[in-house]
Symmetry: C2
Subunit: 123 residues, 2 copies
DNA sequence: TTGATATTCAATCATATGATTGATTAATGG
DNA sequence: CCATTAATCAATCATATGATTGAATATCAA
């Protein structure tokens, strides 16, 4: 049985997945798209609206995000609804968090974040 | 007062910094370099040794990391000692951690990680 | 059916990236 | 002084990226 979450990029190795995720996150348009998809599903045209670039350019950014496994699209008729797929970002988080020991000054922020998670868990 | 941690790339905007950091992290050679620099300073030639690419190619990867503010080099004589500068990775961590709510299945790992930090803080 | 709408495809372009090889610079050590 | 070593510079190359415009596809609505 194939993993449905990662089905867009079936047999991608861990390193290649990280390459694709970090590369996808290196563009501000794509980060803004992911930020807007946090909590709601949006159409390609809705996602494109705030940007000063062509719809086609946004469509290609979305394709990059799909290939990286960060977005999935459900097409019904002529509209294409985009949904965030945060799973692959976890790999990126694990990678960067290995350096958390160097951010002791900002520790409070991270602690606050954990407490938040912890609350969610207890309920 | 200017942030000393980010002094290597003085007037870079937040978005541009994230662009550069994520782009730097999108290459497996550069990630491996950063992993090896976690805890020790190494020369360019030492960093290059494990890779099957030319020394010049590694040198260029290091330059990318320097431009992203992730590495600083101190040259004494003909050798160039490379030191990790984890500060900018913090920005990347903050960005990706906004999606932590989607990783509830992996929560235990993150909790363990933060408990570890918490221990360090108490001591 | 006709026309508008949503999205993608295709061709093109300028620039960026990652690699190579060869030359250069600069500091060592005998 | 001379040869070696460490690292960077420079030119080149193939490929990737991000953008554009124009065409195509497909759906919906009047």
């Amino acid at each position: 049985m194939i993993d449905e979450q990662a089905a867009t990029v079936p047999d991608m190795q861990q390193a290649d997945r990280l390459n694709a995720v970090f590369a996808a996150l290196s563009d501000p348009v794509r980060r803004a798209i992911l930020e807007r998809l946090d909590g709601e599903e949006l159409l390609v045209s809705e996602l494109a609206e705030p940007f000063d670039i062509s719809l086609q350019a946004v469509s290609k950014h979305i394709q990059v995000l799909v290939r990286a496994g960060l977005i999935s699209q459900e097409r019904t008729g002529r509209i294409s609804r985009c949904r965030l797929d945060a799973g692959p970002i976890y790999d990126a988080a694990v990678w960067v968090n290995r350096y958390s020991k160097y951010w002791q000054a900002q520790f409070e922020t991270l602690a606050a974040w954990l407490e938040d998670l912890d609350e969610t868990k207890k309920r």
